[in-house]
Symmetry: C2
Subunit: 389 residues, 2 copies
Amino acid sequence: MKILVKGVGLTKFGELWDKSLFDLSLQAATEAIQDANLSAKNIEAVFVANMIHGKLANQDLLGAAIASLFNIKGASFRVEGACASGGLAVHLAIQSLLAGTYKNVLVVGAEKMTDVTISEITSALMGAGSEAERKAGLTFPGLYALMAKTHMQKFGTTRNHLAAVSVKNHYHASLNEKAQFPFEITEEKALNSPEICMPFTLFDASPITDGAGAVILSSENTPRRRALTPSRWTAGDVYITGSAVATDTVGLAERESLVEIPATKQAAKMAVKQAGIEIADIDIAEVHDCFTIAEILAMEDLGFCEKGEGGKFIVQGTTKLGGRLPINTSGGLKACGHPVAATGLKQIIEITQQLRGSAGKRQVKDAKIGLTHNVGGSGATVVVHVLQT
Amino acid sequence: MKILVKGVGLTKFGELWDKSLFDLSLQAATEAIQDANLSAKNIEAVFVANMIHGKLANQDLLGAAIASLFNIKGASFRVEGACASGGLAVHLAIQSLLAGTYKNVLVVGAEKMTDVTISEITSALMGAGSEAERKAGLTFPGLYALMAKTHMQKFGTTRNHLAAVSVKNHYHASLNEKAQFPFEITEEKALNSPEICMPFTLFDASPITDGAGAVILSSENTPRRRALTPSRWTAGDVYITGSAVATDTVGLAERESLVEIPATKQAAKMAVKQAGIEIADIDIAEVHDCFTIAEILAMEDLGFCEKGEGGKFIVQGTTKLGGRLPINTSGGLKACGHPVAATGLKQIIEITQQLRGSAGKRQVKDAKIGLTHNVGGSGATVVVHVLQT
């Protein structure tokens, strides 16, 4: 598999009360189309990732609605898999390119989450949980807290380990102008912030965010015309070389273990195999840190460290910018923000910019192979992509 | 393109108050898996088409939820494009097979619409409209009534022409045990039923319906083992040979004409070209008759008759069972019922059964080439498939 990431576009993430879902989609997609040096009339299909706009704004049919912003008359789709919607849309767009049906497609992930009350958005997000667990009163902080508590009891993971994820990702976000929270925090601040659901305090949780990301994917292996945007394009072209999806039960109660996400293991194994690499070859990754424990689980389940060692692995500094394997240089879901369906796109965009050498103040040196890891629900759907330059 | 329809399964359509969305999905998918002579463990990906369950039941992530009913750990997706969701899911499933990523995939379309009040479901369905037209107070009966009124003024189409669609489709439904309304009606009854939105009376509109349909699609060109279900399998294997999607504006106000659906023309042209046939080669079709005028527009825009002649074409009897080109032998959306995202699946299933020779009392003789036409919104997204035996 060799799918060219021909163009990328990303809005600022945050509480963007003056922008609609369509404003954000238009901005990200226009930037991606320009970055690809394409005209909208060359785009044959539009894949829109969105979880929540039907519920909150009663607007469905977003594939056609967003395609129409560009007068695109080709195919259009909306893809949903809760917080994995973005990754799933990229995976399906790739299938249509591999099939030879389309040559250039636009994938947009967009979410508008801050225009409603906290109770409305909390309720809407629980659509990604199982009916039984939702009705039993579990929320996502509660579900991930169960995993964190179990991991702490079984492996000796501590609240300091959890805080280290947050401190690292806030440091990365402080170097990213698109981040919702572009500032550093101390371990003390993380540990002493208000309790959300023990063992989590405020800084263990990713926020509610507006934002959009867009990519142009192409089956054409001809490089972009580099002269047009030299400042943003200093390394070689970036290709997606692996794309895999795995599924598990929606409810945690039906799983065998609370300390692993089997779908992460399965998707990673398949994507890495497709790319013809080993997991040890990965130079950089964006992983799904919806809660700090999720990044620890991702380190273990992706195979970056042994099971149970994720907390210690992170405090060693290996995954901080400057370390051997920088993780979530964008700031992650925690500090860059988490506009649900846009997250999968932002991950692809961050890795693309890093491999292009256009990541500015947070540039990782000599990164050649990157990975993205996007999770829906509490591990019901996982999408892993491998990108190479 | 040659994609085998390896198995099909369909629930009864109707007001199924004792069945949940998952009950219906399980039933249709189990039947399709058995019909394909497969085990669930051979299914590598599950595509779920659904429009409305997130809004009405706050359940998203339906790809994983329905895959988990069968303990399927492969890929899972939800695809949405309002009333075209089913056709879009089939199109994307086909892409993944053509790409060579998966060999056997399950596509489920399911909708549970009758458990809420009429005001709730009417509001939820307007998510398929444009924000401006929704806020202006337009409903789908209103949008299609605008098209009908214009067609009547421009081409002399009459209420009798509209009623003929309903009478024919009710006749077909009277031969279909899965239909929501398996009874005949007279032209007089159609014309004198309560007014909905002039020129429409009750019998011009498709109903609110619960139901699910499922198909197993396969890139393997090996025929099914026919011995297992001889009674249901008397003709050859059925293949999808064309699959195309086209897009238009969501709002009617942005269109140039109220008497055509350009996306239907475009999708039909592409699908027929892919299949290597002419539109005149079609023996049978299931078209999207959400309102009677929609079937008239479909006849014209698919190229079965000239623009403006759709009404007269239908009253000639050509499209009635026994005629040269039977249309909507299932009973169509009008009389078989319209569980939104299940409709695209039901269309594929009906044509498959007809081409297999297993359509029972409504069997069309010697049908070799069939077409399905699935519309989202008021023509914003159209999916056309060509099936051949």
